[in-house]
């Protein structure tokens, strides 16, 4: 790893000046954002502010029109989800992105199934580790034989999260991970994020819930109308100031303003 050569300190992801438009709409308009090792960066904004789209440029679900992405200091070519995974980037999508008709173990290992010595699927081993991972995340979960279609929203959420943590991701993107969860499960996800962070995993957390963000994140980035309003370390801003960034696009003194900041 040539961190020293690039002088990029411990930045694991640098998204520089990224744009994408759909038709005439600039969904993401020259947005930049960095992620350091072991850091949780919360990405906030209204519905339609471009948070999910911006992050999908990193996960490979969309291909950017312009801009650069660097992963661990090196310029990354990310044209599809497979490319992103090759860089150790895992994503938990807001839509959960599960194959409804197959069971939990098949979903957990989708795309990189365990195989036996003969190259066939090792379903038993996959089910065993699915039971182990799900047991950690959601101890009461027992419906391993059923297609995930039959599961509740919270259970599906646990499957989606288990899927991401099963694969030693170095960079984790969580798009509204607690949207479908009750208070207790939300707390579990919070614990999980802290644990992952302690393991040195860098996380992009997209959320609506400002309380969650203040509890879990190190840094906050706010988007509005596809543009970056600003980024700030969480100890330099108050909740009201962050709300001001989200609603008005007003960048407080403690934050570094982006191109989307309202000019006074």
């Amino acid at each position: 790893m040539n961190l020293s050569e690039t002088g990029a300190s411990d930045k694991v992801v640098e998204m520089q000046d990224c744009s994408i438009s759909f038709g005439g709409i600039h969904a993401v308009d020259h947005a930049s954002l960095d992620l350091h090792k072991g850091e949780v960066v919360a990405l906030l904004g209204h519905n339609g502010a471009g948070k999910s789209t911006f992050i999908k440029l990193l996960s490979g679900a969309y291909k950017r029109d312009s801009g650069d992405i660097r992963v661990r200091g090196e310029k990354a070519i990310i044209n599809n989800p497979r490319d992103a995974k090759a860089y150790g980037i895992e994503t938990i999508y807001q839509t959960l992105a599960l194959a409804d008709n197959v069971d939990t173990a098949a979903n957990l290992y989708l795309g990189r199934e365990l195989r036996t010595a003969w190259g066939t699927l090792d379903d038993v081993a996959m089910e065993a580790s699915a039971r182990e991972v799900m047991g950690r995340l959601n101890p009461r979960f027992q419906r391993f034989k059923e297609p995930v279609k039959a599961l509740s929203g919270g259970q599906r959420q646990s499957v989606a999260i288990a899927r991401a943590i099963l694969f030693d991701a170095q960079i984790l993107i969580m798009d509204e991970p607690t949207a479908a969860l009750g208070p207790q499960e939300t707390a579990q996800v919070g614990e999980l994020i802290k644990q992952l962070k302690a393991d040195g995993i860098s996380i992009f957390l997209i959320s609506h819930d400002i309380d969650d963000v203040f509890e879990l994140a190190d840094k906050v980035a706010v988007m509005k109308n596809g543009q970056m309003v600003g980024t700030a370390p969480l100890d330099a801003v108050t909740r009201d100031e962050v709300l001001g960034m989200i609603i008005l696009g007003k960048c407080p003194a403690g934050a570094i303003p982006g191109p989307g900041a309202m000019l006074d």
């Binding site: 497979r82 992105a97 409804d100 989708l110 795309g111 699927l121 065993a128």
Partner: protein, 437 residues
Amino acid sequence: MAVNPNFAAPPGARQSREPLTTRMIRATETDTRMLGMLGALLLIWICFHIFSDGRFLTPRNLWNLSVQTSSVAIMSTGMVLIIVTRHIDLSVGSILGFVAMIMGVTQTAFLPDFLGANNSFTWALTLVAGMLAGAAIGGLHGYVIAYLGVPAFIVTLGGLLVWRGAAWWVTSGQTVAPMDDNFRLMGGGPYGAIGAFWSWVVGAIACAGIVSMIAIGRRNRQRFNFPLRPVLAELTLALAGCAAVLGAVAVANSYAWPRGIVNRYATANNIEVPEGGLFIAHGIAIPVLIAVCVGIIMTFVATRTRFGRYVFAMGGNPEAAELAGINTRWVTMKIFILMGVLCAIAGAISTARLNASTNAQGTLDELLVIAAAVIGGTSLSGGIGTISGAIIGALVMQSLQSGMVLLGVDAPFQNVVVGVVLVLAVWLDGLYRRRSV
């Protein structure tokens, strides 16, 4: 062995209140849908048997039924994968026709120039040539569908016209006949069956396979402390499987060669024909054996390989499959290549059976194949379907047709019945699914 208490079965109180059959079905983890289909098939058979004055459930008729089903059954196994991924293939009949023409010309006009007539490699080289042609056509369809983004319905509708035209063009419409002697064995008939002894051998191997699969499954579950099926249930499954296999072999082995062929065979081999005629059993027909092998391989592919897992995941949620890093385009293309190869195998069987290739061969087969897959429980909305279901679906379709021929039903009315049954089957299936989910 110690069962982890976390994985305990549902409370016993609930079980004991249920009737014995329900408990039995639960314990053996039987697919009730499959059971229903087998029941329907049996009902159709018994009805035809009664109305035809006992001519339907005879070794001869069942043997012929099995041979007639092979070609459509083989193609329906590929159609399952296509429909599971929310595509459709309307061109299978035309691909069969075109590839059959290629195979006909290969073995009658092309290979004899190099190998001489009836060389023992001719059939294999012909089959390989057909499979390559089928793979190329399927690959072309798959490429246009997956990489150029043209809907499968349109691409294969185009294919339906193109390959039917191409089949005519190979010989300018002339029928190619007769076929290579060894190649013809693939079509069945007295010589195209493996005889009583080898049929029992195949039956014994199949039984050993069933028992060892159940045993391996049980050992694997033990290894990871998963809940086990009751021993009695495992035994019932093994017994039922073996009984079905051996029963089928017994039926095939009680269908004797026709007297004329026996006498000719006896004269040729200097066998004395005893008083009352010589009994030589057909045994399992080669096309049926091919279809069973294809069924087993395709089941293996669909359930035990990554490719199969991806096919079903793509059918359940194409977006999720793509986001999970699956190369969905390449998988789609592979499915259509596979379909092309299966069309070639089916084409070889039908050519061998006809002892000719004609440019009308396989006309309307696409509808039978799609109907077989759908009757067999493949959902057109994607994600659901089994290979074994499609094969039983093909058997249901063929039983209806040959049963009606046996009863002397007019050909136009046969189509009416088949069409009504197709709609009825899908409606019932929809009811069943809505109730069970």
